[in-house]
């Protein structure tokens, strides 16, 4: 097992290097370049522009620029933002905790809601409850996440009023109110809408997945055996059915972590949440190459790691699977 993990790590390195080369090249060959926005700015002279190009080394051949970037990264230096001149690593360190807070809450909410609903829906297949759940889950998977966010704002911020104070029922953005920085309850209040937006699709997806995987398992022979030996139905479902149905779901969750991260781009942009997704969005607008490179590569690493995690969890939970 250990050798397997080590081997996977070494396999990941060329893959990540390759991805970084492709992304770097894509950034360089697309027309415009990082200073395209400044070129149309009448207050900046051609001379200044040329100075900037030289300072950033933009006239060097692309392979030279890549070599400079990758050797700096190897030393733990992600470069400085073109827009703010702040070290990229610092910018990420500032925002990552916010994204993690949003993601982990959404993740917890998803699990807490999806598991019981998925189980009940499968156990009472074709009941009214099941029909309602499958319909909502189907809709939840089809709704465009960004529009859902806008609708949430329209309903809970614009339309509904807060019964305890004058303002809206839920805030439409930010992590804390201006006068309540760090207040736990206020933070929770700000989390409600973004977390709802981020979780809806995931709740729908996992509910459907668990339901069908539960239905698969409940028709297996060992379930019939468990029933035949007189075990209570509830126990059959929860002790024999659920754990077996959960195995594929757990690996799926591990695989989906990066997608949760992508969803954060929309959520953070709509709810002005100062996290990685919003940073990416802003940097894309500003053509801030070093930040863009860093975030894309961060996500690529996350994808590689989550694939590894999924494989390991699978082997861990299902003893029939071995990696040698």
């Amino acid at each position: 097992m250990t050798t397997y993990i080590i081997r996977r790590f070494f396999q990941a390195i060329p893959l990540l290097l390759f991805i970084s080369i492709v992304i770097f090249a894509l950034l360089q060959i697309t027309p415009g370049g990082p200073l395209a926005r400044l070129e149309n700015d009448p207050t900046i002279s051609a001379q200044d522009l040329q100075l900037m190009r030289e300072r950033l080394g933009l006239d060097d051949p692309i392979p030279v620029q890549y070599a400079r970037w990758i050797s700096a990264v190897a030393r733990g230096d992600l470069g400085k933002s073109y827009a703010t001149n702040q070290p990229v690593l610092e910018m990420i360190k500032e925002r990552l905790p916010n994204t993690l807070k949003l993601m982990s809450t959404a993740f917890a909410v998803t699990i807490i809601i999806a598991i019981p609903i998925g189980i009940i829906s499968a156990v009472r297949q074709y009941s009214i409850f099941d029909h309602v759940v499958t319909t909502i889950a189907f809709a939840g998977q089809s709704i465009p996440i960004f529009w859902f966010g806008l609708v949430l704002i329209l309903v809970f911020y614009v339309t509904l009023d807060n019964p305890w104070s004058d303002g809206p029922l839920f805030p439409s953005g930010g992590i804390y109110s201006l006068d309540k920085q760090g207040d736990f309850l206020d933070g929770l209040w700000h989390l409600v809408l973004p977390v709802t937006m981020l979780s809806l699709a995931w709740v729908s997806w996992y509910t459907r997945f668990l339901r069908s995987s539960m239905l698969d398992v409940l028709h297996k022979d060992f379930i019939r055996t468990a029933r035949a030996k007189g075990l209570r139905e509830r126990l059959v479902q929860l002790k024999h059915g659920f754990p077996n149905a959960a195995i594929p779901m757990i690996t799926l969750i591990a695989l989906d972590l990066p997608a949760l991260f992508s969803g954060a781009i929309f959520t953070e942009t709509i709810f002005s949440w100062p996290g990685m997704g919003r940073l990416f969005f802003q940097s894309a607008l500003r053509r801030d190459y070093p930040v863009l490179m860093a975030i894309v590569m961060f996500t690529a690493v996350l994808i590689v790691l989550s694939n590894l995690l999924a494989d390991l969890l699978y082997a861990l939970l299902d003893p029939r699977i071995r990696y040698d």
């Binding site: 894509l26 809709a139 709704i143 465009p144 806008l150 894309a284 053509r287």
Partner: protein
Amino acid sequence: MTDRILELKTETLQQEESFGRLIFRRFLRHRLAILGLVLLVAITALALYAPNYKYDPEKISLLEKLKSPSTEHLMGTDDLGRDLFARVINGGRISLAVGILATGLSLMFGTLIGAAAGFYGGWVDNVLMRLTDVFLSFPSLFVLILLGAMIRDTPLAKFQGGLITIILVISVLSWMTTARLVRGTFLSLREMEYVEAARALGISNTRLVLRHMLPNALGPIIVQGALQTAYSILTESGLSYLGFGIQPPTPTWGNMLNDAQTYMTRYPWVAIFPGLMIFITVMSINFVGDGLRDAFDPRTVYGKK
């Protein structure tokens, strides 16, 4: 159980019925899929009719701005007085075009690569599957945004608001699932006796693949196609919503939502209608996809449970 056997029997008895008809007949029994199909036909008809509608989607008339929905303006008007219904149905043209064309290309790439990998096996398979793994490791939404942002201010974004570019990019980043699917089917088909028999008859590789192997992989490819269409439409509208997709003034459901954000708090309809259209379209496609999957799956039992 007897019902099921009976059903299987009737299905085998009607041998003369073609496979396509059988699938169609099974599909018709899926009520939600029919609903989806009807809605899709309606949306497509509206999109085709759009250029003949009495309002031009790009015509600005400031006197008419931000009117609420009425018989004159079915969905109201936006901040520049453009008729929202005209914009929504014209936006549908773009969304559907992206959905269909990007999916077509993506299925084509995926089928070619998957078929080559599964048919030849060996090192070809190895190389192509490593390539698939590499593409799967790309954070696709991030790369799409990145490319969208880079291309935004260039001539590439001028033609039809960058329609071609976005179709190409979405399809290049989404063929991998199809490739894996087709490869799997081909690997198992390769060992089948009828394939061996065809080979023994001296049939050419092209004919073997096109006539005897590909039709057997068609079911999963079609189902994947439906899911892929929904994905492409969601991706395009998401990108356009962020401002990195199709560029104004060409209206799409996504960039209409982007416009709407600034004044939707007071004029909610500008944000509701375009999003609702994406929602209905994607849901209809998913219904159809579900129906197709059940129709292609011989294990599905229809009728009373």
